[in-house]
Every structure is written in structure tokens, then in C-alpha cells.
């Protein structure tokens, strides 16, 4: 058992660190949730891609560096520690790409992944529907067979950043009246500027249009944009959902960096004799370290040929609660400045705490609510009997 990176991994980390030090913008980019900020972040994706830092774990021929899981973790640690911008390409890279690697055709990969890696095409997810939140299998949007493809109709919602994105991916009901709701779903990709698509931005709690509703009215999608077999969408999607909950969406680097910033804030602004706040800062540090180490253990298991299943539900509950507690602590530390929005003149300089706080509040909700995750932990990891939840 060890926690040692290889010399090659260390070199990889050092190269990433140097590149980030040279390229991360000195001033934060404008908010990702505005047209201006979206464009700035897209440009940042282009910059990352130009030096092959946008998708380090992809094969070299697709613009990556063939980075190992540990290299990817090291990169993420460096990325967050450097205070680099949020990844506007994240939905495509961490949700769609793994699905394409596993279930896509060569042609799809060749066509989709390059522009995804470069930020030329930004992807939005289109999972949820107004009546299907936790109960995702109850989707109602339809895909109806037509010549050479499918016609999509219905309503999707909570589509992150769809207001500015280029394309979207999601599940649609292609067969009615199946025995179980998970059957008869098809996984499709579609352009957000296609005829029949209406995108209505939705304001987040802090007013920023962080997601959108999509209204689809007979939107044509060619067969080439179906991923996997028609009707098998649930199975195809589950690998993506696993990714969303598991390793990729919330890399430990995010929390180790945040805990580091919190510690710095506490050392500079906190009262060291205030043990109540000290304990909470320490808990954030301990939690971030635990999450990092837990991930290292999982990565080691994967590297040794193992797999991860319901364990990702442990992750989800842990990081989402850690994230809220960490940001609440920061707000309490900052006192009257804690609630100032990031675009306030007086906003505390040491990182975007208010924005991060608002964002953290979504953690226990999205990618499967924590209630659902705890059910999964109890039933699949502890073997407790299934119940009606009620």
C-alpha cells in the first residue's frame, strides 16, 4: 500500500502546474452563466485544447494525453489549486464522452469528440422532465420513428447551461406501453438550434440563468445520432449516470483546493481562539482529505482491474454535504461580507464564496438526490430489503 505517484506522474503534474501558472487568467472570467462569460469560458476551453489540457485522459489521437487515472487526479488537483476557470465543456466531457467511448460508433466518436474537446461544440444534458426528477425512468418525451431518423417531442428541464450550449443529449421514449418504465427508451443527441427546439432559460436561486427548459416539437434527429441500440437507452445512460455520481464530476481536487482556501481564509480572517469555527474548518480539511484518499483507493481498485458500482452513491452523499458545510463555514467566517455576491464591489477577494455556496446547495439534489443515494447505499451496499420508500 502506498500513496506515491510515479516519477512520470510527478512530471505530468509538474508540467500541468507550470502550464496553469502561465495561462490561468489573473482575474476571474465573467460568470459562466452569462453570454459574455460563456464565450470567455469557451475561449478558455480552446486554449486548454490547444495545448492538450482539455481532455487529458483521452487518447492522444483525440486530443488527449492518454493520462492514467492518477495523472487525471493529479491534473485536477493542480487545476483547482491554480484557481483555473470552471469547465464549460464539462457536461460533454464527463457525461456524454464516457458513453460514446463505451456505446458509440467509431463514426460518432470521430465526429463528436474533436469539437467537444476543443470547446467548439458545447453540450448540454437533457435528462429531467417536469414530472421525472428522482424517478427518471418515468420520462414522457418521445422519439417517433420517421424516415432516416427520429422525431423528438416533449419537454426537458433543468438542462444546465442549455441557454448558451450548442447541442444536447438525453433519453426519449421510443416505445409506449412497455412492461417496465425503463424499457423502450432511446439515447439521442440533438442540436439546440434545430427547427422545433425552443430553449427557455431558467434563473437559478441567485438569478443567473444556469439552466433551461427545452421544448421539443418534432425535432428531426438522424439515425446516426442514436447512441447504442434504440430502446436500450436506459442501459446506455446508466454508465453515464455512474460517471456523474462517481469519479469524474466532482474530482477531489475541487474540495482539497476549497479546503485549502478555507484554511487560508481562517488563518487570515479568523480568530484562532474561536474553537467553534476552528472545528468546522478542521472538519472541512478532514473531509476533503478523506474524499481525496477515498478516491485514491477507488482509483487503485480500478487500476487493479476492479470496478465501482453502488459505491459511487457513498461519494455523492459525502462530497455534496462536505461542500455545503465548507461553504457555510466560509460564510460564517466572513461575517457581514459572507453573503455578498461575487459581483459585489466589496466581495471578499479570496475566492467566490457566495457563488460557491449557492452552487453547493444544488449538490444534494442533482445527479440523483441524496435521498435516492442513501436508498441505494442501504439496499445495494448494506443489503437491506427494498421498501416502498413511503
Amino acid at each position: 500500500m502506498d500513496l506515491d505517484f510515479t516519477p512520470a506522474e510527478d512530471a505530468f503534474r509538474a508540467e500541468a502546474r507550470a502550464w496553469l501558472a502561465a495561462h490561468v487568467p489573473a482575474a476571474p472570467l465573467p460568470s459562466l452563466e452569462t453570454a459574455e462569460g460563456f464565450a470567455a469560458h469557451r475561449e478558455w476551453e480552446r486554449q486548454l485544447a490547444a495545448d492538450r489540457w482539455s481532455v487529458v485522459s483521452w487518447p492522444e489521437e483525440l486530443g488527449g494525453r492518454g493520462a492514467s487515472l492518477f495523472e487525471w487526479l493529479a491534473f485536477e488537483e493542480e487545476y483547482y489549486a491554480a484557481g483555473a476557470p470552471g469547465r464549460v465543456g464539462q457536461n460533454g466531457i464527463s457525461l456524454l464522452a464516457p458513453t460514446l467511448f463505451e456505446h458509440g460508433t467509431d463514426a460518432q466518436r470521430a465526429r463528436v469528440l474533436g469539437p467537444m474537446a476543443s470547446g467548439e461544440v458545447i453540450w448540454a444534458q437533457a435528462w429531467s422532465e417536469p414530472e421525472s426528477g428522482s424517478d427518471l425512468a418515468s420520462l414522457r418525451s418521445t422519439a417517433v420513428r420517421t424516415a432516416g431518423g427520429w422525431l423528438l417531442s416533449g419537454q426537458k428541464t433543468w438542462s444546465s447551461r442549455a441557454a448558451f450550449a450548442d447541442r444536447a443529449f438525453g433519453l426519449f421514449r421510443s416505445e409506449q406501453g412497455t412492461a417496465r418504465p425503463h424499457q423502450g427508451l432511446t439515447y439521442l443527441m440533438f442540436p439546440l438550434d434545430a427547427p422545433g427546439v425552443t430553449v427557455r432559460p431558467i434563473g437559478r436561486l441567485d438569478g443567473k440563468p444556469a439552466f433551461a427548459e427545452l421544448f421539443l416539437d418534432e425535432v428531426f434527429v438522424p439515425d446516426a445520432d442514436v447512441i447504442g441500440e434504440p430502446g436500450q437507452g436506459w442501459r446506455v445512460a446508466m454508465s453515464t449516470a455512474g460517471n456523474e455520481r462517481g469519479l469524474t464530476l466532482r474530482s477531489p481536487g475541487r474540495f482539497t483546493a476549497a479546503a485549502g482556501r478555507l484554511t487560508a481564509l481562517w488563518r487570515s480572517a479568523g480568530d484562532p481562539s474561536d474553537t467553534a469555527l476552528r472545528d468546522r474548518v478542521a472538519d472541512a480539511v478532514i473531509g476533503a482529505r478523506a474524499y481525496q484518499l477515498f478516491t485514491y483507493a477507488h482509483a487503485s481498485r480500478l487500476a487493479a482491474g476492479g470496478s465501482i458500482g453502488a459505491e459511487s452513491s457513498l461519494n455523492k452523499v459525502f462530497w455534496s454535504e462536505l461542500d455545503i458545510a465548507l461553504h457555510e463555514t466560509a460564510l460564517d467566517l466572513l461575517g457581514p461580507y459572507g453573503t455578498l455576491a461575487d459581483d459585489a464591489d466589496d466581495a471578499p477577494g479570496q475566492g467566490s464564496w457566495a457563488d460557491g455556496y449557492t452552487f453547493s446547495l444544488a449538490g444534494p439534489i442533482y445527479a440523483g438526490t441524496n435521498e435516492i443515494q442513501r436508498d441505494i447505499v442501504a439496499e445495494r451496499l448494506l443489503g437491506l430489503p427494498k421498501g416502498r420508500r413511503a
Binding site: 426528477g133 434563473g203 436561486l205 439552466f211 457581514p336 455576491a341 459585489a344 438526490t369
Partner: protein, 335 residues
């Protein structure tokens, strides 16, 4: 002992609840947040008419004397409807002016507070004044000096956009010296008390909305309110609020009686009500799911206010310290 609101007090609360329920407060909150104070000021006038601000103004200035219990009844309703504006600040300023012994300032402002003509800011213990851009004037208490000013710096957007924070600038000195602190103490205590009451109402509204949602929203072929995890979270939210409420009322009684423990009672009420309402907001957000995370849902106006009220006029840490700063327990009570 009859530790129950009187029929009149209940009726007063019901009247305000009906008034505010019919007044379209969410639209007023949204306008206020965008800097349009007109609908909010109209609401303010109607609240004054209903007697809310007069509850903090002595009779000789057109009010009803200081009635702390009635104030908590009123502020519970103001919180329940997420009414915008420097509400706690205005009533606390009234107490401050009355106690300050500056006859001119009191004569000028107290009648206008009682009548609802004046929206008044109060800045103490924080660099920011709430809603100075909407206020007719702002009183500033700092370093033993009381000032009054009409100028303020740029509005600082914050987690609750309907709470518009800015730094008061310049101003005229009203009084200097120990009289300032003597007048400030009861005023700040009152601000804390009515903020606790506001939290309580806010939390009640959040719980009601969330219970309604949990009864209606169906997932996995059942209303989510039939899932035990949802039930227990809502039960805990109710417990938090139910046990905060008597603390708020007892604190108001202590203020009315001039009890030495009043400051500690208020601090206890503030911790309990502020934390209960914040927990209610977290519960509301979680159980509404993504829906609760949008500003489109009116509920967001309530959710965003909970944390600000928790910290306004005394953070939980400050209030806990205050609870223990004093005489201590006897058989009659632990405060």
C-alpha cells in the same frame, strides 16, 4: 399565567396575514430587488395603516407606545410574506430615537415612522445599511456617535437580492457620548427580537409550502410526502419552529416588563428562530428539488432570505455568547 396570545393579538396577526396575502407581495419583492421600491413602499403604507410601525412609537409621537409582543406578532406575518424593506431597522430606529433624548430628531422622525411616511435605515455593528437606497434616511451608530445620513455607497448585491446592502456615507452628527450606547442597547435588542419573529414567520411559510408540495408531487407512483425520509425531515422542521415560537413570545414579554434577562431571552429566541428558519429553507430547497433552486418559483424569495435573517442583528455565535453572559439559572428558569 396564560402564555397564549390574546384573541386580539391573534386577530391582529390574521388581519396582517390576509392583507399581505392579498397584496401580491412576491411581485413587490421582485421589484424591490431590481431597485424599484414603489410597490414595496405602497405595501409599507398599508402596513402602517394597519398599525405595524406605531407599535414602536410612543403615543406622544402618534404611535401606541412600545408594544413588543404585538411587534413580534406583526413581524411573524411580515416574515411569513417575505415583505421587503428595512422593517426591523425602522422600528429599532424608532426605539433608538425615543431613547436618545434628541427631541428634534425624535419629533421629526417618530411621527413619520408611525404613519408609514418614513422608511428608515439603521446601521450598527456592520459596515452595511439595509436598503439605504429605499430609505428616507439612515441612522448610523458607530464608535459612540449617532449620525444621520441620506447618502450611501453603491448597492452590494448579496445572496438575497431583495436585501440591498450599501455603506452609509457622511452624515450629520446627532449625539455623541454614553447616551448613544444607552439608547442603542434597547434598540438593537429590539431589532434582534423582531428579526427572530420575522424568521419564525418565514420558516412557517417555507414549511407550509413544502408540505403542500410533498403532498402533491408524485415520484415512484406515490406522493413524496409519503416517503419516511421526507416525513421525518419535515417533522424536524416543524419541531424546530414550534420550540422557537415560545422563546420569541417570552422574549417580547421580557422586553415589555423591562426584565433584566430580556437581552438573554432575545438572544435565545434569535438563535432558535434563525436556525429553525434556515433549516426550513434547506428543507424546502431539498424537497422541492431543482424547482426550489430556481428564482422563478416564488419560494426562492423565502429561501434566500433565511440565511440573511439568521445572521442579521446578531449571528448565532454572538447570540449564544449573549445567552451565557449573565446571571444564570434558577428554579424558575435557565436564563
Amino acid at each position: 399565567m396564560r402564555f397564549l396570545l390574546s384573541d386580539e393579538q391573534r386577530e391582529f396577526g390574521r388581519t396582517l396575514n390576509a392583507l399581505l396575502g392579498a397584496a401580491g407581495t412576491p411581485a413587490a419583492v421582485r421589484a424591490w430587488a431590481s431597485g424599484d421600491h414603489k410597490p414595496g413602499r405602497a405595501l409599507w403604507a398599508r402596513l402602517a395603516e394597519a398599525g405595524v410601525f406605531g407599535l414602536a412609537v410612543p403615543e406622544e409621537h402618534g404611535g401606541m407606545g412600545l408594544l413588543p409582543l404585538e411587534l413580534t406578532v406583526a413581524f411573524c406575518e411580515l416574515g411569513r410574506h417575505a415583505v421587503p424593506g428595512p422593517l426591523a431597522e425602522t422600528v429599532a430606529a424608532a426605539v433608538f430615537l425615543h431613547r436618545l433624548g434628541d427631541g428634534a430628531a425624535a419629533g421629526e422622525w417618530l411621527p413619520r415612522i408611525a404613519s408609514g411616511e418614513a422608511v428608515v435605515g439603521l446601521c450598527a455593528g456592520s459596515p452595511y445599511a439595509l436598503d439605504a437606497d429605499a430609505a428616507d434616511t439612515v441612522f448610523v451608530i458607530q464608535d459612540g456617535v449617532a449620525r444621520r445620513t441620506g447618502r450611501h455607497g453603491p448597492v452590494q448585491p448579496s445572496l438575497d437580492p431583495a436585501r440591498r446592502l450599501s455603506r452609509p456615507l457622511d452624515g450629520t452628527v446627532l449625539v455623541r457620548g454614553p447616551a448613544v450606547a444607552a439608547a442603542a442597547a434597547p434598540a438593537l435588542d429590539l431589532a434582534r427580537l423582531v428579526t427572530a419573529a420575522q424568521s419564525l414567520g418565514l420558516g412557517r411559510a417555507l414549511l407550509t409550502a413544502t408540505v403542500d408540495h410533498a403532498r402533491q408531487r408524485t415520484q415512484f407512483h406515490a406522493p413524496i410526502g409519503s416517503f419516511q425520509a421526507v416525513k421525518h425531515r419535515l417533522a424536524d422542521t416543524l419541531i424546530g419552529l414550534e420550540f422557537a415560537q415560545p422563546l420569541v413570545h417570552a422574549a417580547a414579554l421580557a422586553v415589555a416588563a423591562g426584565a433584566p434577562a430580556a437581552g438573554r431571552e432575545i438572544a435565545a429566541a434569535k438563535v432558535a428562530a434563525g436556525e429553525a428558519a434556515y433549516a426550513a429553507a434547506r428543507t424546502a430547497l431539498q424537497l422541492h428539488g431543482a424547482l426550489g433552486y430556481t428564482e422563478e418559483l416564488d419560494l426562492s424569495l423565502w429561501i434566500r432570505k433565511a440565511r440573511a435573517l439568521r445572521d442579521a442583528w446578531g449571528t448565532p455565535a454572538e447570540c449564544r455568547a449573549r445567552v451565557l453572559a449573565g446571571a444564570g439559572a434558577s428554579a424558575e428558569g435557565p436564563l
